[in-house]
Amino acid sequence: MSEEHHITPLKTYLVVATALFFLTAVTVWASYIDLGSFNIVLALLIAGTKAGVVATFFMHLLWDDKKNATIFVGSLMFLSIFIIITLTDTEFRGAVNPEIKDPINKRAALYSTLPLTDDHGYPLDKENNHHEGDKDHH
Protein backbone atom coordinates (compact mmCIF):
# COMPACT_ATOMS: atom_id res chain seq x y z
CA MET A 1 0.00 0.00 0.00
CA SER A 2 1.24 3.44 -0.86
CA GLU A 3 1.56 6.12 1.77
CA GLU A 4 1.41 8.85 -0.85
CA HIS A 5 -1.76 10.90 -1.03
CA HIS A 6 -2.91 12.91 -3.96
CA ILE A 7 -1.54 16.45 -3.80
CA THR A 8 -3.94 18.79 -5.49
CA PRO A 9 -2.12 21.39 -7.56
CA LEU A 10 -2.21 24.97 -6.28
CA LYS A 11 -3.82 26.10 -9.53
CA THR A 12 -6.87 23.89 -8.91
CA TYR A 13 -7.49 25.52 -5.52
CA LEU A 14 -7.17 29.02 -6.94
CA VAL A 15 -9.51 28.26 -9.85
CA VAL A 16 -12.06 26.73 -7.45
CA ALA A 17 -11.93 29.74 -5.12
CA THR A 18 -12.34 32.12 -8.07
CA ALA A 19 -15.36 30.13 -9.24
CA LEU A 20 -16.87 30.33 -5.73
CA PHE A 21 -16.39 34.11 -5.57
CA PHE A 22 -17.87 34.46 -9.06
CA LEU A 23 -20.92 32.33 -8.20
CA THR A 24 -21.43 34.38 -5.02
CA ALA A 25 -21.58 37.53 -7.15
CA VAL A 26 -23.99 35.81 -9.55
CA THR A 27 -26.35 34.73 -6.76
CA VAL A 28 -26.48 38.25 -5.28
CA TRP A 29 -27.05 39.74 -8.74
CA ALA A 30 -29.77 37.18 -9.53
CA SER A 31 -31.62 37.96 -6.30
CA TYR A 32 -32.30 41.51 -7.52
CA ILE A 33 -34.04 40.26 -10.65
CA ASP A 34 -37.68 39.36 -10.21
CA LEU A 35 -38.12 35.86 -11.59
CA GLY A 36 -41.11 34.98 -9.44
CA SER A 37 -40.89 31.55 -7.90
CA PHE A 38 -37.87 30.76 -10.08
CA ASN A 39 -35.73 33.02 -7.86
CA ILE A 40 -35.52 30.42 -5.11
CA VAL A 41 -34.85 27.65 -7.64
CA LEU A 42 -31.99 29.62 -9.17
CA ALA A 43 -30.56 30.53 -5.74
CA LEU A 44 -30.60 26.88 -4.70
CA LEU A 45 -29.08 25.75 -8.00
CA ILE A 46 -26.19 28.17 -7.57
CA ALA A 47 -25.76 27.22 -3.90
CA GLY A 48 -25.87 23.55 -4.87
CA THR A 49 -23.19 24.10 -7.52
CA LYS A 50 -20.99 25.93 -4.99
CA ALA A 51 -21.52 23.20 -2.41
CA GLY A 52 -20.66 20.55 -5.01
CA VAL A 53 -17.45 22.38 -5.92
CA VAL A 54 -16.46 22.73 -2.24
CA ALA A 55 -17.13 19.04 -1.53
CA THR A 56 -15.41 17.81 -4.70
CA PHE A 57 -12.21 19.86 -4.57
CA PHE A 58 -11.75 21.45 -1.12
CA MET A 59 -12.93 18.36 0.74
CA HIS A 60 -10.86 16.17 -1.62
CA LEU A 61 -13.77 13.86 -2.42
CA LEU A 62 -12.68 13.63 -6.06
CA TRP A 63 -9.39 11.94 -5.15
CA ASP A 64 -10.60 10.06 -2.07
CA ASP A 65 -11.67 6.50 -1.70
CA LYS A 66 -15.27 6.52 -2.94
CA LYS A 67 -16.64 5.34 0.41
CA ASN A 68 -16.34 8.91 1.73
CA ALA A 69 -18.33 10.34 -1.18
CA THR A 70 -20.89 7.58 -0.66
CA ILE A 71 -21.40 8.61 2.96
CA PHE A 72 -21.77 12.26 2.01
CA VAL A 73 -24.20 11.62 -0.85
CA GLY A 74 -26.04 9.22 1.46
CA SER A 75 -26.52 11.98 4.03
CA LEU A 76 -27.96 14.25 1.33
CA MET A 77 -30.26 11.44 0.19
CA PHE A 78 -31.64 10.98 3.70
CA LEU A 79 -32.02 14.74 4.03
CA SER A 80 -34.09 14.89 0.84
CA ILE A 81 -36.29 12.04 2.08
CA PHE A 82 -36.73 14.00 5.32
CA ILE A 83 -37.75 17.15 3.42
CA ILE A 84 -40.03 15.48 0.87
CA ILE A 85 -41.97 13.31 3.32
CA THR A 86 -42.45 16.22 5.74
CA LEU A 87 -43.68 18.49 2.94
CA THR A 88 -46.20 15.93 1.76
CA ASP A 89 -47.81 16.47 5.16
CA THR A 90 -47.44 20.21 5.69
CA GLU A 91 -48.24 21.23 2.12
CA PHE A 92 -51.36 19.14 1.65
CA ARG A 93 -53.10 19.40 5.00
CA GLY A 94 -56.00 21.36 3.53
CA ALA A 95 -56.65 18.73 0.87
CA VAL A 96 -58.24 16.36 3.37
CA ASN A 97 -59.75 18.73 5.89
CA PRO A 98 -59.99 22.40 4.86
CA GLU A 99 -60.46 23.47 8.48
CA ILE A 100 -56.96 22.50 9.49
CA LYS A 101 -55.34 24.17 6.51
CA ASP A 102 -52.99 27.01 7.45
CA PRO A 103 -53.16 26.37 11.19
CA ILE A 104 -50.92 29.17 12.36
CA ASN A 105 -49.55 30.96 9.35
CA LYS A 106 -52.37 33.42 8.93
CA ARG A 107 -52.30 36.63 10.87
CA ALA A 108 -52.39 35.47 14.44
CA ALA A 109 -55.54 36.47 16.29
CA LEU A 110 -53.63 38.37 18.91
CA TYR A 111 -52.47 40.92 16.36
CA SER A 112 -55.99 41.96 15.41
CA THR A 113 -57.66 41.67 18.82
CA LEU A 114 -55.03 43.51 20.84
CA PRO A 115 -54.54 47.19 20.11
CA LEU A 116 -50.84 46.75 20.50
CA THR A 117 -49.59 49.89 18.82
CA ASP A 118 -50.81 53.35 18.10
CA ASP A 119 -51.02 54.73 14.58
CA HIS A 120 -47.33 55.45 14.58
CA GLY A 121 -46.21 52.02 15.51
CA TYR A 122 -45.37 52.75 19.14
CA PRO A 123 -46.64 50.69 22.06
CA LEU A 124 -49.83 52.20 23.44
CA ASP A 125 -49.18 51.70 27.11
CA LYS A 126 -45.61 52.46 28.03
CA GLU A 127 -46.29 52.04 31.76
CA ASN A 128 -47.42 48.49 31.37
CA ASN A 129 -44.15 47.29 29.97
CA HIS A 130 -43.78 44.06 31.91
CA HIS A 131 -45.06 40.89 30.38
CA GLU A 132 -46.04 38.62 33.20
CA GLY A 133 -48.39 35.98 31.95
CA ASP A 134 -48.30 37.60 28.54
CA LYS A 135 -46.61 35.32 26.09
CA ASP A 136 -47.13 37.68 23.20
CA HIS A 137 -44.66 40.31 24.29
CA HIS A 138 -45.91 43.19 22.22
Binding site: S2, T8, T27, M59, I71, S75, I83, K106, G121
Partner: protein, 246 residues
Protein backbone atom coordinates in the same frame (compact mmCIF):
# COMPACT_ATOMS: atom_id res chain seq x y z
CA UNK B 1 3.35 -3.04 19.62
CA UNK B 2 2.67 -5.24 16.69
CA UNK B 3 4.94 -3.25 14.38
CA UNK B 4 8.62 -3.68 13.85
CA UNK B 5 11.07 -0.96 14.74
CA UNK B 6 11.03 0.54 11.26
CA UNK B 7 7.40 1.66 11.60
CA UNK B 8 6.95 5.40 12.13
CA UNK B 9 6.19 6.72 15.63
CA UNK B 10 2.91 8.27 14.55
CA UNK B 11 1.47 4.87 13.60
CA UNK B 12 -0.81 3.61 16.36
CA UNK B 13 -0.42 -0.03 17.25
CA UNK B 14 -3.97 -1.02 16.36
CA UNK B 15 -3.55 -0.06 12.71
CA UNK B 16 -2.02 -2.25 10.05
CA UNK B 17 -0.17 0.55 8.31
CA UNK B 18 -0.08 4.33 7.94
CA UNK B 19 -2.42 4.37 5.00
CA UNK B 20 -5.06 2.33 6.81
CA UNK B 21 -4.76 4.66 9.80
CA UNK B 22 -5.26 7.71 7.56
CA UNK B 23 -8.22 6.20 5.71
CA UNK B 24 -9.88 5.10 8.95
CA UNK B 25 -9.59 8.57 10.47
CA UNK B 26 -11.07 10.10 7.35
CA UNK B 27 -13.95 7.64 7.29
CA UNK B 28 -14.71 8.56 10.90
CA UNK B 29 -14.66 12.22 10.00
CA UNK B 30 -17.08 11.66 7.14
CA UNK B 31 -19.41 9.72 9.43
CA UNK B 32 -19.37 12.79 11.68
CA UNK B 33 -20.10 15.02 8.66
CA UNK B 34 -23.16 12.84 7.95
CA UNK B 35 -24.51 13.56 11.43
CA UNK B 36 -23.78 17.26 10.91
CA UNK B 37 -25.71 17.32 7.63
CA UNK B 38 -28.67 15.71 9.37
CA UNK B 39 -28.44 18.09 12.36
CA UNK B 40 -28.62 21.11 10.13
CA UNK B 41 -31.02 19.17 7.91
CA UNK B 42 -33.71 19.30 10.59
CA UNK B 43 -33.36 23.06 10.71
CA UNK B 44 -33.48 23.32 6.92
CA UNK B 45 -36.71 21.32 7.01
CA UNK B 46 -38.14 23.76 9.59
CA UNK B 47 -37.08 26.63 7.30
CA UNK B 48 -38.74 24.98 4.28
CA UNK B 49 -42.04 24.37 6.07
CA UNK B 50 -42.34 27.85 7.55
CA UNK B 51 -41.28 29.54 4.36
CA UNK B 52 -43.85 27.51 2.42
CA UNK B 53 -46.48 28.59 4.94
CA UNK B 54 -45.39 32.25 5.17
CA UNK B 55 -43.82 33.24 1.83
CA UNK B 56 -44.73 36.94 2.13
CA UNK B 57 -43.59 37.19 5.75
CA UNK B 58 -40.23 35.62 4.88
CA UNK B 59 -39.76 38.13 2.10
CA UNK B 60 -40.65 41.08 4.32
CA UNK B 61 -38.60 39.90 7.29
CA UNK B 62 -35.63 39.25 5.00
CA UNK B 63 -35.56 43.00 4.25
CA UNK B 64 -34.55 43.53 7.88
CA UNK B 65 -31.28 41.66 7.30
CA UNK B 66 -28.19 43.45 6.02
CA UNK B 67 -27.26 41.90 2.64
CA UNK B 68 -23.85 43.61 2.65
CA UNK B 69 -22.86 42.05 5.95
CA UNK B 70 -24.06 38.66 4.72
CA UNK B 71 -22.12 39.07 1.48
CA UNK B 72 -18.93 40.10 3.28
CA UNK B 73 -19.29 37.09 5.56
CA UNK B 74 -19.73 34.82 2.53
CA UNK B 75 -16.55 36.18 0.95
CA UNK B 76 -14.65 35.91 4.24
CA UNK B 77 -15.74 32.31 4.70
CA UNK B 78 -14.85 31.27 1.13
CA UNK B 79 -11.46 32.93 1.56
CA UNK B 80 -10.95 31.01 4.80
CA UNK B 81 -11.90 27.78 3.02
CA UNK B 82 -9.23 28.51 0.42
CA UNK B 83 -6.55 29.23 3.03
CA UNK B 84 -7.53 26.04 4.90
CA UNK B 85 -7.14 24.02 1.69
CA UNK B 86 -3.80 25.73 1.04
CA UNK B 87 -2.63 24.93 4.58
CA UNK B 88 -3.14 21.23 3.79
CA UNK B 89 -1.48 21.68 0.40
CA UNK B 90 1.53 23.31 2.06
CA UNK B 91 1.92 20.63 4.73
CA UNK B 92 1.71 17.95 2.02
CA UNK B 93 4.75 19.59 0.43
CA UNK B 94 6.39 19.87 3.87
CA UNK B 95 6.27 23.70 3.78
CA UNK B 96 5.54 24.05 7.47
CA UNK B 97 5.92 27.80 7.75
CA UNK B 98 3.60 28.40 4.81
CA UNK B 99 1.11 25.97 6.31
CA UNK B 100 1.29 27.82 9.62
CA UNK B 101 0.70 31.14 7.85
CA UNK B 102 -2.33 29.72 6.01
CA UNK B 103 -3.78 28.35 9.26
CA UNK B 104 -3.30 31.76 10.84
CA UNK B 105 -5.11 33.45 7.94
CA UNK B 106 -7.95 30.94 8.29
CA UNK B 107 -8.15 31.77 11.99
CA UNK B 108 -8.24 35.50 11.26
CA UNK B 109 -11.02 35.02 8.68
CA UNK B 110 -13.03 33.00 11.19
CA UNK B 111 -12.56 35.76 13.75
CA UNK B 112 -13.69 38.32 11.17
CA UNK B 113 -16.76 36.24 10.39
CA UNK B 114 -17.76 36.09 14.06
CA UNK B 115 -17.04 39.81 14.46
CA UNK B 116 -19.41 40.71 11.64
CA UNK B 117 -21.95 38.24 12.99
CA UNK B 118 -21.67 39.96 16.38
CA UNK B 119 -22.43 43.34 14.79
CA UNK B 120 -25.49 41.87 13.11
CA UNK B 121 -26.76 40.18 16.27
CA UNK B 122 -26.09 43.25 18.40
CA UNK B 123 -28.11 45.41 16.00
CA UNK B 124 -31.02 42.97 16.08
CA UNK B 125 -30.95 42.64 19.86
CA UNK B 126 -31.02 46.42 20.06
CA UNK B 127 -34.05 46.67 17.76
CA UNK B 128 -35.87 43.72 19.32
CA UNK B 129 -35.83 41.61 16.15
CA UNK B 130 -35.74 38.48 18.23
CA UNK B 131 -37.29 35.02 18.19
CA UNK B 132 -40.69 34.12 19.56
CA UNK B 133 -42.09 36.11 22.45
CA UNK B 134 -39.01 38.33 22.62
CA UNK B 135 -39.82 39.94 19.27
CA UNK B 136 -40.70 43.56 19.97
CA UNK B 137 -39.73 45.36 16.78
CA UNK B 138 -42.41 47.59 15.27
CA UNK B 139 -40.80 48.11 11.93
CA UNK B 140 -40.04 51.79 11.30
CA UNK B 141 -36.75 51.05 9.59
CA UNK B 142 -38.08 49.01 6.72
CA UNK B 143 -39.55 52.00 4.97
CA UNK B 144 -36.14 53.34 4.16
CA UNK B 145 -35.46 50.34 1.98
CA UNK B 146 -38.70 50.45 0.01
CA UNK B 147 -39.25 53.36 -2.34
CA UNK B 148 -41.33 51.53 -4.90
CA UNK B 149 -44.95 52.65 -4.51
CA UNK B 150 -46.20 49.56 -6.36
CA UNK B 151 -44.45 47.30 -3.87
CA UNK B 152 -45.86 49.26 -0.95
CA UNK B 153 -49.37 48.96 -2.42
CA UNK B 154 -48.80 45.26 -2.87
CA UNK B 155 -47.88 44.84 0.77
CA UNK B 156 -50.92 46.80 1.89
CA UNK B 157 -53.17 44.67 -0.33
CA UNK B 158 -51.77 41.46 1.00
CA UNK B 159 -52.08 42.79 4.55
CA UNK B 160 -48.54 41.89 5.41
CA UNK B 161 -47.12 45.29 6.14
CA UNK B 162 -49.07 48.36 7.17
CA UNK B 163 -47.92 51.59 5.70
CA UNK B 164 -48.61 54.87 7.45
CA UNK B 165 -48.54 57.62 4.83
CA UNK B 166 -48.38 60.46 7.37
CA UNK B 167 -45.29 59.18 9.09
CA UNK B 168 -44.01 57.37 6.02
CA UNK B 169 -43.52 54.33 8.18
CA UNK B 170 -44.12 50.63 7.74
CA UNK B 171 -44.93 48.49 10.70
CA UNK B 172 -46.08 45.04 11.80
CA UNK B 173 -45.83 41.92 9.73
CA UNK B 174 -47.44 38.53 10.00
CA UNK B 175 -45.57 36.53 12.59
CA UNK B 176 -42.05 37.80 11.80
CA UNK B 177 -40.81 36.27 15.04
CA UNK B 178 -40.96 32.89 13.29
CA UNK B 179 -38.42 34.09 10.73
CA UNK B 180 -36.14 35.40 13.43
CA UNK B 181 -36.52 32.23 15.47
CA UNK B 182 -35.26 30.18 12.54
CA UNK B 183 -32.65 32.80 11.63
CA UNK B 184 -31.12 32.90 15.10
CA UNK B 185 -31.11 29.14 15.60
CA UNK B 186 -29.57 28.38 12.20
CA UNK B 187 -26.98 31.17 12.10
CA UNK B 188 -26.35 30.66 15.83
CA UNK B 189 -25.62 26.95 15.45
CA UNK B 190 -23.47 27.79 12.42
CA UNK B 191 -21.66 30.47 14.43
CA UNK B 192 -21.03 27.90 17.17
CA UNK B 193 -19.43 25.69 14.54
CA UNK B 194 -17.22 28.58 13.43
CA UNK B 195 -16.15 29.14 17.04
CA UNK B 196 -15.37 25.43 17.52
CA UNK B 197 -13.54 25.45 14.19
CA UNK B 198 -11.39 28.34 15.45
CA UNK B 199 -10.42 26.28 18.47
CA UNK B 200 -9.50 23.34 16.22
CA UNK B 201 -7.45 25.58 13.91
CA UNK B 202 -5.59 27.01 16.90
CA UNK B 203 -4.87 23.42 17.97
CA UNK B 204 -3.54 22.67 14.46
CA UNK B 205 -1.29 25.73 14.65
CA UNK B 206 0.22 24.42 17.89
CA UNK B 207 0.73 20.96 16.41
CA UNK B 208 2.29 22.35 13.24
CA UNK B 209 4.55 24.74 15.12
CA UNK B 210 5.78 21.86 17.30
CA UNK B 211 6.55 19.83 14.19
CA UNK B 212 4.03 17.09 14.98
CA UNK B 213 2.45 17.44 11.55
CA UNK B 214 4.46 16.95 8.37
CA UNK B 215 4.12 15.65 4.81
CA UNK B 216 3.81 12.01 5.93
CA UNK B 217 1.38 12.65 8.79
CA UNK B 218 -1.17 15.44 8.62
CA UNK B 219 -4.40 13.54 9.41
CA UNK B 220 -5.48 16.13 12.01
CA UNK B 221 -5.29 18.90 9.45
CA UNK B 222 -7.14 16.91 6.80
CA UNK B 223 -9.95 16.11 9.24
CA UNK B 224 -10.29 19.68 10.55
CA UNK B 225 -10.15 20.82 6.91
CA UNK B 226 -13.18 18.67 6.08
CA UNK B 227 -15.02 20.12 9.09
CA UNK B 228 -14.10 23.67 8.13
CA UNK B 229 -15.26 23.20 4.53
CA UNK B 230 -18.56 21.85 5.84
CA UNK B 231 -18.99 25.05 7.84
CA UNK B 232 -18.40 26.99 4.62
CA UNK B 233 -20.77 24.70 2.73
CA UNK B 234 -23.61 25.29 5.20
CA UNK B 235 -23.13 29.06 5.03
CA UNK B 236 -23.30 28.79 1.21
CA UNK B 237 -26.93 27.71 1.72
CA UNK B 238 -27.74 30.00 4.65
CA UNK B 239 -26.68 33.14 2.77
CA UNK B 240 -29.18 32.99 -0.15
CA UNK B 241 -31.92 31.44 2.02
CA UNK B 242 -31.90 34.25 4.61
CA UNK B 243 -30.38 37.31 2.97
CA UNK B 244 -31.40 37.00 -0.69
CA UNK B 245 -35.11 36.20 -0.67
CA UNK B 246 -36.78 37.64 -3.74
Amino acid sequence: MSHDKSSPDFLYHHFYDVNQQYETSKLGMWAFILTEVLTFGGLFVAYTIYRAWNPEMFFNANLLLDVNKGLINTIVLIASSLTMALAIWAIQLNKRKLSLLMLFLTFVCALGFLGIKYLEYEHKFHLGQLPGEYYSYMGPEVVQEIHDQEKINHYIETNNIFFDKETNRLYTMNNPHIFFGIYFIMTGLHGLHVAIGMGLIAWLMVLTARGKLHARYYTHMEAVGIFWHLVDLIWIFLFPLFYLIG
